[in-house]
């Protein structure tokens, strides 16, 4: 008895639906259309609007031209970004690297004049923003990668040596870290573009280590 009662309303409702096929089809399409509008809208919001909100943008204190400098120096990147004798990496060069040439402005480039006036003559180090700064708990040995594994700077940092302007530094408002760590692809899908900096999260390190050395390595290999 109860079974027939349950079946009764279903069959009566199903019957008109089966008869009026065009009307049912159009409602289906409308539902699908609204779903797609919402779906695509959320994706666009997540991929375009969200990063805009998440990252604050800053410019480097001086718009540095890597390309011009790379032409002038003999030793490539290592002329300024060199290794110290104990194997540590100097990273961003200090004023003492610049002062040999830039004690006085050599051109009428406003950025160079600003650099000389505001930093060189006053003896103040330039507060460069480091795109690849890692958290305190990370130990990254440049020597193991550049000397030991013979990797080029471009592999991780992109083709920064040929850039004529510094990039905008994007800082994650929640974590305080540079956007380069997460990577510029907010969905972190696919490979990064050739010549662009590689994402530098732990998974990115582990992926490469797994590929090149056969294992991800123990915690202390990269942590301190």
């Amino acid at each position: 008895m109860s079974q027939t009662d349950q079946h009764q309303p279903v069959s009566t409702k199903a019957m008109p639906g089966a008869n009026e096929t065009p009307a049912a089809n159009s409602t289906g399409w409308i539902i699908f259309l609204f779903f797609m509008i919402g779906f695509v809208g959320s994706l666009l919001a997540g991929w375009i609007l969200f990063p805009e909100l998440l990252y604050s943008k800053k410019n480097q204190p001086i718009d540095f031209n890597h390309a011009i400098h790379l032409d002038q120096v003999d030793d490539g990147c290592e002329s300024c970004h060199f290794f110290r004798e104990d194997g540590t990496f100097a990273g961003m060069p200090g004023l003492d690297s610049c002062i040999d040439c830039h004690e006085e402005a050599q051109t009428d480039n406003p950025e160079e004049i600003k650099f000389v006036e505001e930093y060189v003559t006053q003896g103040i180090e330039v507060p460069w923003l480091n795109y690849s700064k890692q958290p305190d708990c990370v130990f990254f040995p440049h020597s193991a990668h550049v000397i030991g594994a013979d990797m080029s700077c471009e592999t991780c940092h992109g083709d920064i040596g040929n850039s004529e302007h510094t990039r905008v530094y994007e800082q994650n408002k929640l974590t305080g870290y540079s956007r380069d760590i997460w990577g510029h692809n907010i969905a972190r899908l696919g490979k990064h573009k050739q010549g662009e900096p590689a994402p530098m999260k732990m998974n990115d390190c582990a992926k490469c280590h797994k590929k090149e050395t056969g294992h991800k390595g123990a915690c202390f290999q990269c942590h301190k």
Partner: protein, 268 residues
């Protein structure tokens, strides 16, 4: 794949208890080297953070037969049965925040990955692991003097002796720069080994025949703590006193410490 080093390293320590005076220099050096926080009131030792503790043990006999021995205890960096890295603390960690480094034999960890469940502390038979009950507070301007080579830990995570792994990292850095495959013995030494005024602590690669620890671990005076648990620690102790040797494990009255090693061999 690039060719690997022809042997795996097993960094270990040999502590000569006959030489140890209990001065505590090793502890001080360890605190300073590894940014280990401390508090104004350190009377409750269960709450203290110390990567290396010098314990005082006695033979329990009344004067004039009282004897005292000081026992410095860092993390034992257990290899586990068969040297597979099955350390007690590593196998229980649900966060994979700690693991066994097969290249160096050191039990390594990521502080930021730890969520403070303290299973590892319960699993460690040596009480080598310590929990951060509070965020570190550095007196006056001491923050400026912290070592940049060791990341400071925050409230709610577990920490322990790392055999000054950052010194290994730095030594490797230099070796890469000089295009060397191997480190020199004196390039990588722990802070406690360097600080010990009597030279009681010797540190090196237990697998390397040229290192001092290789010979010392085979000394007839050598023993390890709680050997019967098969934790296979990499910290060896030397003593010429039988009561100290007996204190290294829970021996029954009729058991001889020297025979336990045979048991170990037969057991596995």
């Amino acid at each position: 794949m690039k060719e690997k080093n022809n042997h795996t390293k097993r960094f270990g320590m040999v502590i000569d208890l006959d030489k140890c005076t209990g001065c505590g220099s090793c502890m001080v050096a360890c605190y300073a080297e590894n940014n280990v926080p401390f508090r104004v009131d350190e009377t409750n030792k269960l709450d203290s953070l110390s990567w290396l503790v010098v314990h005082k043990i006695t033979n329990g006999k009344p004067y004039p037969n009282t004897e005292i021995c000081y026992l410095p205890m860092p993390c034992m960096q257990c290899d586990g049965i068969g040297k597979h890295g099955h350390s007690p603390c590593v196998s229980v960690c649900p966060a994979v925040a700690t693991d066994y480094d097969h290249e160096t034999g050191i039990v390594s960890q990521i502080y930021t990955r730890c969520f403070g469940c303290r299973y590892c502390m319960a699993a460690c038979p040596y009480h080598a692991r310590k929990f951060n009950w509070w965020d570190p507070v550095w007196p006056a301007d001491m923050k400026k003097y912290l070592s940049p080579n060791v990341s400071p830990r925050m409230r709610g995570v577990v920490e322990k002796c790392s055999f000054c792994f950052h010194r290994y990292q730095q030594a490797k850095d230099k070796a890469f720069y000089e295009k060397r495959e191997e480190l020199y013995e004196d390039e990588y030494q722990t802070a406690c080994a360097e600080a010990c005024p009597t030279g009681a602590i010797t540190f090196g690669d237990l697998n390397n025949k040229n290192h001092a620890v290789y010979k010392l671990k085979k000394d007839p005076r050598a023993f390890r703590l709680l050997e019967r648990l098969h934790t296979n620690p990499k910290v060896y102790y030397l003593t010429s006193k039988s009561w100290v040797r007996r204190a290294g494990d829970n021996y029954l009255a009729n058991e001889e410490p020297g025979k336990i090693k045979q048991e170990m061999v037969h057991g596995h």
